[in-house]
């Protein structure tokens, strides 16, 4: 698939380490458009939208943020923790706004499985349908997220 210059520039910027160490694409050889389209297809197959997922992520982050870094129950089988560190990151799509370096971790009590996301992850899923490239530190598999949260 051909990419317009803006998308090519975005792709370069997502692979660069200017905003976060290691960038947002990991070692994924696909273009950003392919990553987004493939994940959108997966969500469609699962009958969920990125907006629904992002809304649930925000809800969990908000609930857990009040617990000062401790684990709190967010359902009968799951608990969540919010971890805050210094600073904020802008979105690589280069619009206004910055996202605190806050990481939410959700853990299933039965299996111990975890999934985690940053505030920037939530925003990028919500606004851009971007779950990051495979191999990046904060890549989230849509199916795993759906299984854990919905």
């Amino acid at each position: 698939m051909k990419q317009g210059p803006e998308v090519q520039q975005l792709d370069v910027s997502l692979r660069a380490s200017t905003l976060v160490a290691g960038g947002f694409m990991g070692d994924d050889p696909r273009s950003v458009t392919e990553v987004i389209d493939t994940d959108a297809g997966e969500l469609s197959r699962l009958g969920v939208t990125d907006k629904q997922l992002a809304a649930r992520m925000k809800e969990i982050t908000q609930k857990a943020a009040g617990a000062q870094g401790t684990w709190i129950e967010i359902g009968p089988d799951c608990e969540a923790q919010v971890d805050e560190t210094r600073g904020a990151t802008p979105c690589p799509w280069r619009h206004r706004g910055r996202y605190f370096k806050r990481v939410t971790t959700v853990r299933r009590k039965d299996s111990g499985r975890t999934v985690r996301w940053s505030d920037l992850n939530t925003h990028m899923i919500d606004a851009h349908g971007f779950f990051e490239g495979k191999g990046s530190m904060f890549r989230i598999e849509p199916a795993e997220l759906v299984k854990m949260l919905l």
Partner: protein
């Protein structure tokens, strides 16, 4: 037919190439701003080559304006007054400037491209900030994701700072980050030794500077820092002190406690230190030592919920609950907080309920 198509493609390509060449040549001449004069506080003039942003040009001239984002316009820290020559406020600056600041010509120095002469005002205290070449002499694991980095000052060999202040550490370009960036860290060391700067740093997943410090920086390496910065410091009153800080937020409190010991400060004080599990506690022996050496100081470590198999005979629950239980004379106290925004916000509420007035609550928020 094919011939015509090829000719058309060639013509369009040639026009495109010619336009690109014109752009490159124009850029060379039009974007050449020549020498520009930056007048600072009407006292000193700098002559710089135009074209760069104000923050980086000042840094090149060894004038250090605080900035946590490396000039990307995302931290909003590098504010200074630009009286003339900066043009209108850019959309990238708007979110960080209040109405009052706009009226006072405050701008984000990283967003201002120097294209002509400028008249700027820099707070006097920032003009005394210097760059220090140091050598990392010790890296110590404090918890699974917090380390202490000891920097021996080389040139200049000592730094005068007020306990509670911070420095900026320069992360050089490395394979996870193509650009140099600065990040701010509170000084944790004993101010009695002016040749040592200890930093307590927590690993930020994907963080450019912390990834460098944790995975690339080695003992013996040269490290550049600049400073000192910041207004966080112990007041000179006699009011009882409540310290609240968890994790790497201990850094400025530790520095202040060293100073209280060195200066024979007899103020009543209590330090509430919160962690999730016992494994996240550190410097407990040092804090017990402060308890023994400071006449009216108590250390209250609080573990939210000890992990399975952990032994803990101290307080449990949230650190704010321990504060609620432990502070009986809130109306008389001053409070000093350092940590995450969530912890600070929760602590402020609790302190207010205990009668501590807002003008007596001082904090260093991680944001």
């Amino acid at each position: 037919m094919i011939g015509e198509t090829v000719i058309s493609v060639l013509i369009v390509s040639s026009i495109g190439a010619a336009l690109a060449a014109v752009l490159v040549v124009s850029e060379h001449f039009i974007a050449n701003y020549g020498e520009c004069k930056i007048s600072i506080n009407e006292e000193r003039d700098l002559t710089v080559t135009g074209g760069g942003n104000l923050l980086s040009l000042l840094t090149t001239e060894k004038i250090f304006i605080p900035s946590a984002c490396g000039g990307r316009g995302t931290c909003g820290l590098c504010k200074l007054k630009v009286l003339d020559g900066a043009g209108t406020i850019l959309p990238t600056e708007e979110p960080y400037l209040s109405k009052e600041e706009r009226a006072a010509n405050v701008r984000l120095s990283c967003q201002i491209k120097v294209k002509n002469d400028l008249r700027i005002q820099i707070p006097k205290e920032l003009l005394s900030i210097r760059e220090y070449v140091t050598r990392c002499t010790k890296i110590e694991d404090l918890t699974h994701d917090i380390k202490l980095f000891r920097l021996q000052l080389v040139e200049p060999a000592t730094m005068d700072y007020i306990p509670g202040q911070y420095v900026q550490l320069l992360t050089p370009a490395y394979d996870k980050s193509p650009l140099e960036v600065y990040r701010a860290y509170s000084i944790a060391s004993d101010p009695a030794d002016k040749g040592i700067i200890d930093l307590i740093i927590r690993l930020v997943p994907n963080g450019i500077c912390t990834t460098y410090c944790f995975n690339y920086l080695k003992e013996g390496d040269e490290v550049k820092i600049n400073g000192p910065y910041g207004e966080f410091r112990l007041s000179t009153t006699d009011a009882p002190v409540v310290f609240i800080a968890g994790g790497s937020g201990m850094a400025p409190i530790k520095c202040i406690l060293h100073d209280m010991k060195n200066t024979g400060n007899r103020r009543e004080g209590v330090y509430f230190f919160g962690a999730n599990v016992v494994q996240e506690m550190f410097h407990l022996d040092l804090m017990r030592q402060f308890e023994a050496e400071l006449p009216s100081f108590r250390f209250v470590p609080v573990v939210a919920k000890p992990a399975e198999g952990e032994t803990w005979d101290g307080q449990t629950g949230l650190v704010t609950q321990a504060v609620q239980r432990g502070v009986k004379n809130g109306a008389l106290c001053e409070a000093y907080l350092c940590g995450s925004p969530g912890m600070i916000d929760a602590s402020i509420k609790v302190l207010q309920d205990l009668g501590v007035t807002n003008d007596r609550i001082f904090y260093d928020k991680f944001a």
